[in-house]
Amino acid sequence: MASIPQDLKYSEDHEWVLVDGGVATIGITHHAQDQLGDVVYLGDFPDTGSSIEQGDPVGVVESVKATSDIYAPISGSIVEINADLIESPELVNSDPYGEGWIVRMKIQDTEELNDLLSHEAYEELLD
């Protein structure tokens, strides 16, 4: 089991959230990519600028065998989609917490960050 970064927050849907000022960068965890297997496609992203409610789908990640929705862990507007994943979806496997990030959102309500799990709580979820 790869270590779980301590500077991130986590959702029960196995997404991670990096908060930097008013912007949240979102990806899927090492555990999530491991369960999916080789990622071969990401898509169905909302347009940049569109408003998203917490829990809404913000894309789909597909491995050879499985299709999995990505749900917005917080509400906000879409700032950026990781364009590198179009050509190189395997980054989600090789570097899930780094170059494999998926979407950036402008945080609408910082209160919602309290709904997310700490790294300790996420580690417990996996046990």
Partner: protein
């Protein structure tokens, strides 16, 4: 066989080996089977470029033996068993009276009166009911379900011949495609067949279940110099799909005929009577209403099994198999299209999560070896 109630998950003789190798195990047709070891893409590539080893012991084996064996199989299957030489294998289907496919099968002719029929794991019970239900003493042949007695390993890939040759004194160069010999490999009595489900050169070895583990280890060792990898069902599926080999339950079912599935080449309507023949002759005369085609998506996305197929704005069945092709890097799939729309270049749409993605019929197999 035995246990009629199939509540419990079934294991091949190699289940413990897979667990020990860290394979990811998943339920498949009532069995717990490895879906991947190192990763589906790496495994797929290993088979296309080097060599891979598969445990396919979940497949079933029926033995048909006696003076009436050929006649019995002629009646139960669509291909012409009388054309088989001793030591030859034949791809075929068993049909219902209405021409639907009970299962797709391989028939191995072991001697003038002895045949082995290899059946799909997911259809084992239905096939046994079908075969035994159509078998009687007047057939003058015995019918035995030997599925538990046999393990089956497949060694597939451009280096498969070298790997298997290291384990046997049988000259494998003298065993052409779809031929087999009964001989010794790694000290075990085997049926060594030059068959497979990947589109690569390769062999399938039938061995008694008690020898499965020893043979698996011998294959791993013999393949080591060639970079052999163990291969799970995930890559087995992408490999067969790239060749447009049918998967029972997806691409062919009791609701599809071999003519619709483009398996006319194994449907010998002029060989004499067989179960389903009348219905198939009628369908051929009336015109086969649809055909199984290969397609590629023309926009981003992956068409998966069960996604709606849209022809001229109307729903027309579903994608029967679909994946991102590891060899081609494009989304490929199979589906039935109406007569007149099945030629390469024809367009239709696949509905993916509410969106219509354009698709185009292409020639198959999707994957062609360089130089072929």
């Amino acid at each position: 066989m035995g246990d009629a109630g199939r509540e419990t998950v079934r294991h091949t003789p190699l289940h413990g080996v897979h667990k020990g190798m860290g394979a990811r195990l998943v339920p498949f047709a009532g069995w717990e089977m490895p879906v991947q070891y190192s990763g589906i893409l790496a495994e797929h590539k290993a088979v296309r470029e080097r060599v891979g080893l598969f445990d396919v012991s979940h497949m079933g084996e029926f033995l048909v033996e006696g003076t009436g064996a050929e006649a019995f199989l002629q009646r139960l299957t669509s291909n012409d068993v009388s054309q088989l030489a001793v030591g030859q294998a034949q791809y075929t289907v068993a049909c219902t009276e209405t021409g639907g496919i009970v299962d797709d099968l391989l028939v191995y002719k072991r001697s003038g009166e002895r045949y082995l029929v290899c059946v799909n794991a997911g259809r084992l019970d239905e096939d046994w009911d079908w075969f035994s239900g159509h078998h009687s003493a007047s057939d003058q042949c015995s019918l035995v379900n030997a599925s538990d007695d046999y393990a089956q390993l497949a060694i597939q890939g451009p280096r498969a011949l070298e790997v298997v040759q290291r384990m046997t004194s049988v000259n494998l160069k003298e065993v052409p495609t779809y031929r087999f010999v009964e001989g010794v490999a790694a000290g075990r009595q085997c049926i060594i067949a030059r068959t497979g489900y990947t589109g690569e050169d390769g062999f399938e070895l039938f061995v008694d279940s008690a020898s499965a583990e020893a043979l698996w280890s011998a294959c791993m060792e013999a393949g080591e110099p060639d970079g052999l990898l163990p291969i799970g069902l995930g890559a087995r599926d992408t490999l067969r799909l790239e060749m447009k080999y049918c998967l029972y339950g997806n691409d062919i079912t009791t609701d599809t005929t071999p003519l619709e599935a483009r398996l006319a080449w194994i449907t010998k309507l002029d060989k004499g009577d067989f179960i389903g023949r009348d219905a198939l002759i009628r369908q051929k005369e009336e015109g086969v209403p649809r055909g199984l085609v290969g397609f590629v998506l023309k926009d981003r996305g992956i068409a998966r099994h069960g996604y709606p197929v849209i022809v001229d704005g109307d729903s027309y069945g579903v994608v029967t198999s679909g994946a991102m092709s590891p060899s081609l890097g494009t989304a490929i799939g199979l589906c039935y299209l109406p007569r007149g729309r099945t030629r390469a270049g024809n367009s239709f749409e696949v509905e993916i999560r509410g969106r219509l993605i354009p698709a185009e019929v292409v020639k198959t197999p999707f994957f062609k070896r360089a130089g072929n």
